[in-house]
């Protein structure tokens, strides 16, 4: 804000100077432009939600609450029958497996970089910075490349594990397969792949959180004779609980919305299933990717409704994650 000092009429030194805090026209223009931009951003982002809600009305009118309990996806013909149930359970199963794979590895890797990795190896190589950069790079690798790798490398090498799981642990419902089992294109493989994709994100978020642990507490514990394991358990974890949860939830948000990698691996079926090693599955994002061009107006509306469900879930997860992190920062 610019303050211009004007002398009042009479121009006597004894008279008080008037302080004007009026903004110059340029400043008002500047404020106007950036305020407009801010509001436009707000409006666009809110519009997405509103538009999805409006456009999916047709689907909800057609199906009513059955949209959440139906499993098939027939959107043309006189009696359209479709619902999001199998896609929703599929999405949840895939992201569940993904988090099961990603979280332990990501946390361990973050702790390794922060607590165990030497700053330099061989006297010149900055290992710690290098690993941090590698994690960041991995987070930027396009999902299509992960998808291709998953399809051509991961899937063949996981087939054996899938078969072993269903042969010897088949009594657990998750690992049961049909009589003529096919072990590719399954939830397990898609979930593992998505897990590998979200690993770098969770790693770099939680690494940053871990690195915020106060040095004084850490050194205090060490001077009392605590081993590194104790320092991690009693100093690092308590300080970064909230941030860790936030990092994991952001990873979950990304896992839920992953479309292409899942679409490459999985073959679409509409029977809700919890048999993770069996071929076939479904997820909201993959469903949209497969079906967007077909199915007429009701089909499109149905996909938008499915998209809305996904959107609401990720939105809620993001907001809750942000809240948890904030609370853990303000409280304690």
């Amino acid at each position: 804000m610019s303050i211009s000092v004007k002398e009042t009429s009479g121009a006597l030194a004894a008279k008080p100077l008037l302080i004007s805090t009026r903004r110059s026209p340029q400043d008002r223009l500047f404020r106007g432009v950036s305020r407009t931009a801010g509001l436009t951003t707000l409006v666009i982002l809110v519009l997405i939600g509103l538009f999805l809600a409006l456009q999916s009305r047709l689907a909800f009118q057609t199906m009513g609450w059955a949209f959440f309990t139906n499993t098939g996806w027939v959107t043309t013909g006189p009696h359209p029958q479709f619902g999001v149930l199998s896609a929703l359970t599929g999405t949840l199963i895939i992201s569940g497996i993904a988090m099961f794979v990603a979280v332990p590895v990501a946390l361990a890797c973050a702790l390794f970089i922060n607590e165990f990795a030497p700053r330099q190896v061989l006297g010149f190589f900055p290992l710690k910075n290098f690993l941090t950069a590698m994690v960041d790079l991995m987070a930027a690798v396009p999902s299509i490349i992960f998808g291709m790798w998953g399809f051509f490398v991961l899937q063949p090498s996981m087939k054996g594990l899938s078969r072993w799981l269903s042969d010897y642990l088949g009594f657990i419902p998750f690992f049961k397969t049909s009589d003529t089992p096919i072990y590719t294109s399954s939830f397990l493989i898609a979930g593992t792949l998505v897990g590998i994709m979200v690993m770098p994100i969770v790693t770099s978020l939680s690494r940053e959180v871990f690195s915020l642990t106060p040095v004084a507490e850490r050194e205090g514990a060490m001077s009392l004779g605590a081993s590194r394991a104790r320092v991690i358990r009693d100093v690092v974890f308590p300080f970064s609980k909230g941030g860790m949860v936030g990092a994991i939830m952001l990873g979950l948000g990304r896992a839920l919305g992953e479309a292409i990698a899942v679409a490459i691996i999985i073959s679409l079926t509409f029977q809700p299933s919890i048999h993770v090693t069996q071929a076939g599955g479904n997820s909201i994002a993959a469903l949209i990717a497969f079906r967007f061009g077909s199915g007429g107006p009701i089909g499109l509306s149905g996909l938008l409704a499915a998209g809305l469900v996904l959107f609401v879930i990720t939105l809620a997860i993001n907001l809750v994650a942000a809240r948890i992190v904030n609370r853990s920062k303000m409280g304690d």
Binding site: T40, A106, F112, T132, D136, I144, F152, G307
Partner: protein, 410 residues
């Protein structure tokens, strides 16, 4: 926290009278004997896995073998260290092994991924690939006839347009949130935070429904650019905001004290100070949106021919082309997908390196994932702490020469 200083070794002598000589154990010390222990444990784990899964039950595939091997190794390593040392040392060793294995589990897939993309695509790269399209390429045409030129042009145009739409809006929004503020600041920040996790596919179907299904504009590069801009907007906004926050408050105050108008302060002081971080944030936003496939699938649609007009007709794009090609049955088609993927990877990699180099000099310039992380971390906590810190710095202790209040009283 308890200190176990009595080592197990020599326990039989501990009943005798007199002070026991305590030999301190340093968990971080890693002697030759420890390396031998590590090696033998690893070998034992390998053998057990081999007996169990190659002889007793049939586990095919290396992945399962490695997984079980790692599991057995961790168990054995714990037991062995527990036998040799105190509990504390064993725990420390075990945790160190766990963390190291975690890091390996993280970086080996990355390495495999890079090796995979480069190994499959490298031999297919040639100068021809960068100038040819898929025009006139059929099942019968000789291998190596097709190229990815059309996809490169498409990707550059779509991402360029998306950046043209998204980046100015994002930067201005960030300036509004950080420099000006107002009634909506909080709302905008919350909405942008929430939106930065929007699934790409949702942005795609949104643009598809509004642009193609409602307004009947048809598939085009511009529709793809719109979808990418929707994804770019929240990410770059939050990234830029983070960078602007790092600019010292002193600089702004100095500028205001020199009677610079607000726009001048932002234009000549804040933005130049944050330049490297700004460029990093924008480049990384662009790098991520280059790789998005899902939204392009339903907005750009793909094209085998060169279409350099982004406003009319379907276009090709690198990630989309890779996705469509690898689903085809012929090896020549899949190879073209590998080529597209490698070119895409090199593009992202270059952008990433440039962003890193630009950010390199600055101590606080955040990297890509760091920018993402601040999206959660910063909403309240971090900034306030920083600004509290500034409040203590000299400004308050300066001799208050001519504050506005005093002038009023004159």
């Amino acid at each position: 926290m308890t200190l176990e200083m009595t080592p197990r070794v020599g326990a039989e002598g501990s009943e005798s009278v007199g002070p026991v000589k305590i030999k301190p154990i340093r968990p971080r010390e890693f002697k030759r004997s420890d390396i031998i222990v590590l090696g033998v444990t690893g070998l034992a784990a390998y053998c057990i896995t081999w007996i169990l899964f190659d002889q007793l039950t049939l586990l095919s595939g290396q992945l399962g073998f490695v997984l079980f091997c790692v599991g057995f190794f961790l168990g054995l390593y714990w037991v062995v260290n527990r036998q040799l040392f105190t509990r504390q040392v064993a725990v420390d060793r075990f945790v160190a092994a766990l963390m190291t294995l975690g890091a390996l589990a993280m970086f080996i897939p990355l390495l495999l991924l890079v090796v995979f993309v480069v190994a499959r695509g490298w031999n297919l790269l040639s100068a021809h690939v960068f100038v040819a399209t898929q025009k006139g390429v059929s099942e019968l045409s000789p291998a190596g006839k097709a190229g990815v030129a059309h996809a490169i042009v498409g990707t550059l145009e779509q991402v360029g347009l998306a950046a043209l739409i998204g980046v100015p809006a994002a930067v201005l929004t960030a300036i509004f949130i950080n420099e000006i503020g107002g009634r909506f600041t909080r709302t905008i920040r919350v909405v942008v935070t929430a939106m930065s996790g929007t699934p790409a596919i949702v942005a795609g179907i949104f643009i598809y429904a509004i642009w193609i299904a409602t307004f009947h504009q048809g598939y085009s590069g511009f529709a793809g650019a719109l979808a990418l801009a929707v994804l770019l907007l929240p990410t770059v906004t939050r990234g830029t905001e983070e960078v602007l926050k790092v600019v010292h408050q002193d600089l702004r105050e100095a500028s205001i004290a020199l009677a610079a108008p607000e726009w001048r302060t932002v234009w000549s002081v804040v933005l130049p100070t944050a330049r490297s971080g700004l460029v990093t944030s924008v480049l990384l936003g662009v790098a991520v949106s280059i790789g998005e496939t899902a939204p392009l699938l339903m907005t750009v649609f793909g094209n085998k021919l060169m279409n350099s007009n982004p406003f009319n007709g379907p276009q090709a794009a690198l990630p989309l082309m890779a996705y469509q090609q690898i689903k085809l049955p012929l090896q020549a088609d899949i190879d073209l997908g590998y080529t597209a993927a490698l070119v895409l990877f090199l593009l992202v990699f270059t952008l990433f390196i440039v962003a890193r180099l630009l950010a390199g000099g600055r101590r606080r310039a955040p990297g890509f994932a760091a920018l993402r992380s601040r999206i959660v971390n910063s909403s309240l906590g971090a900034t306030e702490i920083e600004q509290d810190g500034f409040a203590d710095t000299p400004i308050a202790s300066y001799p208050p020469s001519t504050s506005t209040d005093e002038r009023d009283q004159q």
